[in-house]
């Protein structure tokens, strides 16, 4: 297509410019507006001191940080706790998930053992059944476990993390497995001749070489956990134990009466770190997505 539309380097009129690249800008601007508009809206609402939904409709009509203060200090809304809980759950789960997944990917990629093929297939098949579908069973199991070990039962962050880690061997492992296979085996063999054991090879050689895919999987798991509502809402009962997704959803369950600008402030504070990290790592994320597509 590009070849067909490339025009001679001479000066062109507006028509020529438009049929070449101009219309592309028109499309891009239109879609960008569609993409950015709700985000502008929520940013404007968060700066608006008026609490209601109607009050937020005049974009950037008044600017102040009252709603941020309100969100952070309102004793009814333990927003800082939600933020902290989300950070703890998503970080711990993200790191542990990547570590466990990398251990498995290393084994499947480098070792040959009975049950290897079956293991790989099982991981993919079990993952077809999304964990949130088993939420009833998870709830009942965790309430039983809570009777014996209150530290990991219902209403605990540690219990929630454990549940999420049940999915540590999964699609992510498969994605990492594909990437591990691209690391030449000669490196391992050279290290082996030098006397390094399997653990030393894994920790000092392989883990460094696969760092990009670890970052991608970690980031995607982190975002996935930040967004996870079903299990978190069933597991976490006390308001100060909840995560952002559970707390903020309850907060605006009736948008008519909700403190809309406080919610918007909370949304902006929750989203900005995620968006910044995502934009910084976007090159790797895109690479990881397409790599997974061709190899998975």
């Amino acid at each position: 297509m590009t070849e067909m539309t490339s025009a001679p380097a001479r000066r062109r009129g507006f028509g020529g410019w438009f049929s070449d690249t101009g219309w592309r800008h028109a499309v891009a601007i239109a879609v960008s507006a569609f993409a950015v508009f709700p985000l502008l809206y929520v940013f404007s609402a968060s700066l608006n001191p008026a609490g209601t939904l109607t009050g937020s409709n005049q974009l950037f009509s008044s600017i102040g940080i009252d709603s941020y203060v309100r969100m952070l200090t309102d004793p009814q809304v333990p927003y800082p706790m939600w933020f902290l809980n989300t950070l703890i759950v998503a970080t711990v789960t993200g790191f542990t998930m990547v570590f466990i997944g990398a251990l498995a990917a290393y084994t499947f990629s480098r070792m040959r053992f009975t049950g290897r093929r079956v293991g790989l297939v099982t991981i993919v098949v079990v993952q077809m059944f999304p964990q949130l579908l088993a939420v009833v069973a998870i709830f009942l199991m965790m309430s039983a476990i809570g009777d014996w070990f209150p530290a990991i039962g219902l209403n605990t962050l540690s219990g929630l993390i454990l549940i999420y880690l049940g999915g540590a061997l999964g699609v992510n492992t498969y994605l990492m497995y594909g990437f591990f296979n691209t690391i030449p085996k000669e490196l391992d063999e050279a290290a082996k001749i030098d006397g390094a054991g399997h653990a030393r090879i894994f920790f000092t050689i392989i883990l460094r070489l696969v760092a990009p895919i670890l970052a991608v999987v970690g980031l995607l798991s982190f975002i996935g956990i930040v967004n996870e509502y079903v299990i978190a809402s069933v597991m976490l009962i006390d308001p100060e134990k909840q995560t952002l997704v559970v707390g903020l959803t309850k907060l605006v369950s009736n948008p008519r009466y909700a403190d809309w600008s406080a919610f918007s402030a909370g949304a902006v504070m929750a989203a900005i770190p995620v968006v910044v990290v995502f934009l910084l790592l976007q090159k790797y994320v895109v690479g990881g997505l397409t790599a997974g597509a061709t190899k998975g």
């Binding site: 993409a35 809206y41 498995a104 290897r116 088993a134 009942l140």
Partner: protein
């Protein structure tokens, strides 16, 4: 190691240059130091695991949970064996993940299957004994002119008990809500039992502080629930209460002495009167395929189930198609060498993908609010379009918002895939005289699809279970009228399961799990078919 070194150098006072033997010994020492560190770390980690396991065994022993206890012991032995043995290297890497997978995925999957065949839910929470005890406790009335018992409230491990002195023979006995009165040796004071070993006697102020717990205390007089229970209001004096219900264990019936109605065990987990009235709570029983039969025959369940299933497919299919085509269109638009500001646009376009999706859905819900939302108030100048409350518009809104959420991903993927198509293919086609549309339709699209199809399938599967969007945008509403389930026009299967299990007055875990099994069968079938299709596509390459 140092000993050997000293032994070999012992005779000389000055240190001579190391002999080859010494050098090799030093190398061995270095090599050993590494594994030694690992060994210490390994032993420390296993010690922690074993300590936790011992604690777990102790707790489970107290709760008499023999099956779980056996599982914990077996897993602990297995873990120690794997990590202490020099072989089983793959197992060392896989064990943590597999244990978590088995407990939190495979077990819950099997357990879901089991619950689908029971009547578990509100009113059917426990065993038959628990249900009988609960029914009789809920209908306790004080026996007229019954003797007054001296009582003391005692506590152990947070559980309250009642220390009762019999007024006729002065004997002391102890019981709790779950443990009937048992004779016990107690410290007596003025003919009244006041304290007992291992238990803490509550002072009067403590009784006041926990008055609601104390009032809930009803200690069965004996193993036969018909004998009644001792209750106390003030923690000092207790009275005998008996139930208006009489349980006949031989006949398996419950008789209400006030009305004379006889309730019989109907085999469905509840006592039922001849008129069909059930006494609740009932208990949990295995009901076979009842939940599935109910799902396909009961009109008030079948109707919404069919509508929800159809909408789930439509929603997932349109979501994939719309996001893919918008993403592809944009990728093609951007595939132009001389276009300026490309990177700027790109960052703007992927913002919706970077923004946490649940927040986006909540924000759109606010903007689409019928009377106060930005779209109606500002964009449409005060119109009142029922975006989220009209069945058809709500469906359209869900699709629009999902397009917003999903197109950046497809845009990124298509850009990547288009870059992967070699330029020579294009040039060869141009030489052959193909026009841009032909090149796209006949060459680029098929090549693109080979790369993208697995992602489209994954995207379909994701949207099939896209709970957050539905739940946070419309809440599944507007609700269906005249059906027994709390579901609505935009509910998809997964949100229906959640609602049946966790919202509304009646939590029906059994029915929800039955739905889950149906969904699993559908998802598994789609996955198997699509895996085969994908293989066929890959062979084209």
């Amino acid at each position: 190691m140092t000993d050997t070194l000293q032994a070999s150098t012992g005779e000389s006072t000055e240190s001579p240059p190391p002999t080859p033997r010494q050098r090799s010994a030093a190398r061995m020492a270095d090599a050993a130091a590494g594994p030694l560190r690992w060994l210490v770390l390994k032993i420390a980690l296993l010690a922690i695991v074993d300590a936790v396991a011992v604690y777990a065994v102790f707790v489970l022993f107290l709760h008499s949970e023999w099956l779980v206890l056996a599982g914990v012991v077996a897993v602990t032995i297995l873990v120690n064996w794997i990590y202490f043995s020099r072989r089983h290297i793959p197992a060392k890497y896989l064990t943590p993940g597999i244990i978590l997978l088995v407990v939190f995925q495979i077990f819950t999957l099997v357990y879901t299957g089991y619950i689908g065949f029971t009547n578990y839910g509100t009113g059917h929470n426990g065993s038959k004994d628990q249900a009988i005890a609960s029914l009789m406790r809920s209908s306790l009335v004080r026996v007229e002119d019954s003797p007054t018992y001296d009582v003391a409230v005692v506590e152990r491990f947070g559980e309250l008990g009642l220390l009762v002195t019999d007024p006729t023979d002065g004997e002391a006995s102890l019981g709790t809500n779950t443990q009937p009165l048992q004779p016990i040796d107690a410290t007596m004071e003025d003919g009244k039992a006041v304290a007992v070993d291992d238990w803490t006697t509550l002072a009067f102020s403590d009784v006041l502080a926990r008055s609601s717990d104390v009032e809930q205390l009803a200690v069965p007089a004996s193993d036969d629930p018909n004998d009644g229970a001792i209750r106390t209001q003030d923690g000092q004096k207790g009275y005998l209460y008996t139930s208006t219900l009489v349980y006949d264990e031989a006949a398996g019936t419950m008789t209400d002495t006030a009305t004379g109605v006889v309730y019989t065990d109907d085999g469905e987990g509840a006592f039922t009167s001849p008129e069909g009235e059930q006494l609740l709570p009932g208990w949990q029983v295995f009901v076979g395929f009842d939940n599935f039969v109910r799902a396909v025959t009961d009109a008030s369940i079948r109707g919404p189930l069919l509508a929800v299933t159809a909408w789930t497919f439509v929603f997932a299919a349109i979501s994939v198609a719309s996001t893919f085509f918008l993403g592809l269109l944009l990728a093609l638009v951007f595939q132009h060498k001389r276009m300026r500001f490309k990177n700027g646009y790109r960052i703007l376009l992927i913002l919706p993908y970077a923004f946490p999706a649940f927040l986006s859905a909540l924000i759109w819900a606010g903007m689409m609010n019928e009377s106060f939302g930005f779209i109606n108030q500002v964009l449409l100048g005060g119109a009142s379009v029922p975006w989220l409350t009209d069945p058809w518009l709500a469906k359209a809104s869900v699709l629009i918002v999902n397009l917003w959420l999903g197109f950046p991903y497809m845009f990124l993927v298509c850009m990547g895939a288009l870059q992967g198509i070699p330029e020579e293919v294009n040039e060869a086609a141009v030489v052959d005289g193909a026009n841009p549309w032909q090149i796209f339709r006949r060459i680029k699209l098929p090549l693109l699809l080979v790369t993208v199809t697995p992602l489209l399938i994954a995207s379909f599967a994701f949207n099939f279970n896209n709970f957050n969007l539905i739940y946070m945008l419309t809440g599944g509403g507007p609700r269906f009228t005249d059906v027994s389930l709390p579901v609505g026009h935009t509910d998809i299967l997964i949100s229906m399961v959640y609602k049946v299990a966790f919202t509304g007055q009646n939590r029906d875990y059994g029915l929800a799990s039955a739905f889950t099994i149906l969904i699993f069968i559908v998802v598994a079938a789609i996955s198997i078919i699509s895996f085969r299709k994908t293989k066929a596509l890959e062979e084209l390459n």
